[in-house]
């Protein structure tokens, strides 16, 4: 097999052994393994690096375990607002989105922006309009709802505290 490789992450933070149950530990590892194996298969079949990273991130977005796509955290308004980016090392082309809502897979929108627009980053409603014009999948708010994320948000929604997805630490920037 030629020199191919893939690496991925699902977030960093205050993740200690005591913070995950054996079942949660197993679920996280299974999701990571599936994403890395499927991304690697793309490369093993002769696919390109862009396709591999797009697929791996799509799979992680589709998992409710991680803070992206389906598992996205709640904003102060109780919504889901997502950011994403993709970049090609060969051409230095890039596509990015910021503050998009109801886009099922923001990373696929990034790829579309990279390949079908003269721009690098689109945000908010404009990015959503671009997604609509290019046939990207949308999802209702209910698709992004996650009980664990809701409980995380419920603890801080009446404060000015904001939190990293996998971190117990809080930062009261506007306190």
């Amino acid at each position: 097999m030629k020199n191919i490789a893939i690496a991925l992450h699902g977030g960093a933070g205050t993740i200690e052994k005591k913070s995950l149950s054996p079942e949660q530990d197993k679920a996280f590892r299974a999701a990571l393994k599936q994403a890395v194996e499927e991304g690697h298969q793309v490369l093993a079949r002769g696919g390109n690096a862009l396709d591999a990273v797009e697929l791996a991130v799509t799979l992680l977005e589709d998992s409710p375990l991680f803070n992206a796509g389906k598992g996205a955290v709640f904003t102060k308004e109780g919504k889901h607002e997502m950011d994403a980016a993709i970049m090609c090392g060969r051409t230095l082309e890039a596509g990015a989105v910021a503050g998009v809502r109801n886009i099922k897979n923001p990373i696929q929108l990034c790829r579309s922006i990279m390949e079908h627009s003269d721009h690098v980053m689109l945000s908010g409603y404009g990015a959503e309009e671009f997604a609509l014009n290019h046939g990207l999948d949308f999802a209702p708010e209910s698709y992004f709802f996650n009980k664990f994320r809701y409980e995380q948000w419920s603890e801080v929604r009446d404060t000015n505290i904001y939190q990293l997805d996998h971190t117990v630490h809080t930062d009261e920037k506007f306190g």
Binding site: A7, E16, G47, E81
Partner: protein, 136 residues
């Protein structure tokens, strides 16, 4: 936040990152993820990088591009560049988090300065490596 970097058989590399941001964020806050050079970067001449962590610090430290610059201008290896940025520069800023990175020669680095990072890699015909905690 999730992200991936890859090297294909043609020797090309790429990076991708996606996030829901921070719980209870407001004012349309945007982190480092979609900012090319901060949370995501790829250049066949050096490396591909995807970051995760407290975005404000990653933006100020221009983390992804800094790793690439240390390789391009200072001649550091991928591992050395990642170590310098994540465990020295970023720590001075007070930034918690980590990244995954890959170089066109197949080197992979997954440094982080937090308690843990959900991470995985698979190279060539090797078995997949999956880890969460610092001591793995």
């Amino acid at each position: 936040t999730v992200g991936a970097v890859a090297l294909d058989a043609a020797g090309n590399i790429a990076a991708a990152t996606s996030t829901g941001g921070m719980t209870n964020k407001r004012y349309n806050r945007i982190g480092d993820t979609p900012i090319i050079g901060a949370g995501t970067y790829a250049n066949n001449a050096t490396c591909a990088v995807s970051c995760t962590g407290h975005g404000e610090y990653f933006m100020r430290a221009v983390v992804a591009y800094d790793v690439s610059c240390l390789m391009e201008y200072k001649g550091l290896s991928l591992q050395e560049a990642c170590e310098a940025v994540v465990n020295r520069k970023l720590v001075k800023f007070g930034g918690e988090g980590g990244l995954v990175a890959i170089a066109p020669n197949g080197d992979v680095a997954m440094p982080f300065n937090s308690e843990g990072m959900y991470r995985a890699k698979k190279a060539g015909e090797q078995q997949a490596f999956v880890a969460i905690y610092k001591d793995e």
